[in-house]
Symmetry: C2
Subunit: 451 residues, 2 copies
């Protein structure tokens, strides 16, 4: 039976591995790991808690160890590297490209790093040091420093011969760079044109309009750009306009994924690094911080309620209905917040558009607010049969939902202006606003109208 058919998706592959682990079937485990590529193995390792993950290390074919290590999540890579000897690491990184070596050494201690550096090829070492010299979140850190460069005026045939003689092109190559003698980029020629066009023609004729990235650009902005242009790669130049490498789709894919994931995690109060199999203590600590921040806002809401002891003491129905007001405002606000945060991430909000958006959200908030305020009012009347309570909750829901939608626009735009990630604190601030506005309007109106 063909390998692809044994498990058609990631989950079945994982299940197969688990069953072999349970049976303690070391032969089948070795066989499985010998069939898989480095990416598959990395993903499987990420699907186990630390104990099992360490046990599985022994089954990885020696030739794949380096690639696997470069492919797993950073946290897991750091755990493995901590357990490996310096000579193990030296063996591992032999044969890896500069990007992979950089990823492995990034998580190593300074002294290990220095020793391993010394064991590297001069060429690779220079490239790795160059990558490490960039900040963690810029294009230069993620680019492939190896590009295939040719001069203008040569024929396609000559380029092909040059590539064959010098064994150029690696598995991620997509384009040939045409540069002048200073390594200034003049254009790019696709491998496709290199093959399909008349071989006696010169490269200049097939140079594409090219789009370059600056090596100091934020990697998440670069990912958004490549994604929106659906480019498979882009040349990277330094601030002098000299070609320094290229950024490939494969790397952007992962960053795109991470970006959207991060928004989701931030909005739920989970740290970037947390995965399903993050150890208990690490998870508990990082989540604890968010719980603490939330606690402050929860007590702020409680404090607001506390100001209305008098009315609560007299009308217990208010205490019963309070959560409905807060909850409807919270949901309405976070609907808006989510849409606005995604719009910001995609660069869709600037200038006049904002005015349109405020207008839209106010209308959506008021129309949904009106509809659901009337529904809540009707249910409350049926439940308690009190006209005044009905009036108070209807007004409070309408006010809270309208303001919730406006806050859903206002809060992320303000946070962005303050250079704070809107996903990170937007949800907590929004809930605080909708809770406070909700309780204030509901209990305040009750005090004025009923007492």
């Amino acid at each position: 039976m063909d390998e692809e058919e044994k498990y058609t998706n990631a989950e079945e592959q994982l299940l197969y591995l688990q069953q072999r682990l349970d049976d303690d079937d070391t032969e089948a485990l070795s066989a499985l790991f010998n069939e898989l590529d480095a990416w598959d193995i990395a993903r499987l390792l990420e699907s186990f808690p630390a104990k099992t993950r360490n046990l599985l290390w022994a089954y990885i074919p020696e030739t794949l160890l380096g690639e696997v290590l470069a492919s797993v999540d950073e946290d897991i890579r750091a755990d493995y590297v901590e357990d490996l000897s310096v000579s193990d690491i030296e063996n591992l990184v032999r044969g890896l490209d500069a990007q992979d070596v950089a990823e492995v050494l990034e998580v190593a201690d300074e002294d290990v790093k220095t020793t391993v550096y010394a064991s590297l090829d001069d060429n690779i070492r220079a490239q790795v040091e160059n990558l490490h010299a960039y900040e963690e979140d810029v294009v230069g850190r993620y680019m492939d420093p190896e590009t295939v460069n040719v001069k203008q005026g040569v024929s396609l045939e000559a380029v092909q011969r040059y590539i064959r003689i010098h064994h150029l092109l690696d598995e991620e190559s997509q384009q040939i760079m045409v540069t002048d003698k200073d390594k200034r980029l003049l254009g790019t020629v696709t491998l496709i044109d290199l093959i399909k066009q008349p071989q006696e023609a010169i490269v200049d004729e097939f140079m594409d309009d090219f789009f370059t990235l600056n090596d100091q650009m934020k990697i998440s902005d670069a990912a958004t750009l490549l994604r929106s242009k659906e480019l498979p790669f882009a040349p990277v130049c330094d601030s002098d306009g000299l070609l320094v490498g290229q950024l490939n789709t494969a790397d952007v894919l992962e960053i795109t994924q991470d970006d959207a994931d991060m928004t989701l995690k931030h909005m739920s109060g989970v740290s970037d690094e947390e995965e399903v199999f993050t150890p208990i203590v690490r998870s508990a600590k990082s989540r604890g911080i968010w719980l603490g921040i939330n606690l402050m806002t929860a007590f702020l809401a409680a404090f607001v309620i506390g100001q209305f002891e008098a009315v609560l003491d007299q009308i217990v129905a208010l205490a019963i209905l309070m959560p409905v007001v807060a909850s409807m405002g919270g949901i309405a606000g976070s609907q808006t917040l989510t849409v606005v945060i995604r719009g910001l991430a995609l660069g869709q909000l600037a200038g006049n558009n904002k005015r349109w958006l405020y207008n839209k959200e106010l209308w959506v908030g008021m129309s949904n607010g009106l509809v659901w305020a009337l529904v809540v009012g009707a249910i409350s009347y049926l439940w308690f049969g009190e006209m005044l309570i009905t009036l108070v909750i209807t007004l409070a829901i309408f006010i809270n939902m309208s303001l919730a939608n406006l806050s859903g626009v206002l809060i992320p735009l303000i946070l962005k202006r303050l250079s704070i990630d809107p996903a990170l604190s937007g949800a907590v601030i929004l809930t605080t606003v909708t809770d406070v506005v909700g309780f204030l309007s509901f209990l305040g109106l009750a005090t004025v109208i009923i007492l």
Copy 2:
């Protein structure tokens, strides 16, 4: 000045466009749209409400109209197509590849579709009909049906010549397919090897281990696979093993993005299609449904509180502290939910791993529950100075946070077994559980201990 420098990111480009719109500078608008590629234009259109968007249509160079239309969000595409005449659409789709034509016609009325079909090249029409025959969410619908196929045993040089003579390879080609006479896939050869290897060698020598996708596979599963393997593309075969097309990274990039976006939107009660510039009425309607569902759960919580009127009537401090119990449980639960939903999406949860996860979340929930229960207890004591209230809230927070974390694992796993998207209803169910458990334990304990 170079175009790239006028606006270094999407937002600046958008701002530039807006300023020209405000100045009513039609010349600059035409000039801008002539400089941009179809992807840029599509992204800009997505950044405006419908009215301005329709106005901008006139500035798009005629040669790009088709590509732009194929690139914008489905909702927007449908709006444009509705306004276009049949002959406009016929002109638009001329010169587009089958994938793009399929995307444009997908949103057209049946009679428009039939008329435009008739105007297509036979070859393109057959491909488009083939794409439309697939379900909306399977690989076959997203694949590029054009591949370059050669027989085994031919030399690399012959392949190159064959490509040049027949003008093969389009801008997304990455690989040559080696097939037998029945079109059964034997292997793939990269353009890289086609260039760098000795030209007299035969293709068979450089066939890669290949990984194929089935044309009926769910597109989101395929995206996850390509992503985890970091493949730039994969051949697509039908259930008889015959080659029918290839799936490219560029398309997967968008789907990856959509997938993570969708989780975020579903968790916040926003529909898949909603973007910042979705019209007011459409937004209000689709969000309204979620608000209605939330309302039911909010009244369920209110009903639970209502069962404890007696104790609330006597001790108003309980009403004041209630939201703290619900809020801490809600946050703890949604932290867990987010991590578990991402783990499920990545195929990391199967078999034994689940047991480990329950164990982890119970411990995280209990340890964070204990810490924050004591903090809340201390603050409550300082505030109200009542030992019994302090005892009640401390216990309630501990119980609610521990159960919240367990529910954060249990709910998505149950939903998945029932084939319901955990992101879609997980958050609403979880909040219901944490509200009900929170109020029940807090007010229930108060009734037992204090009354």
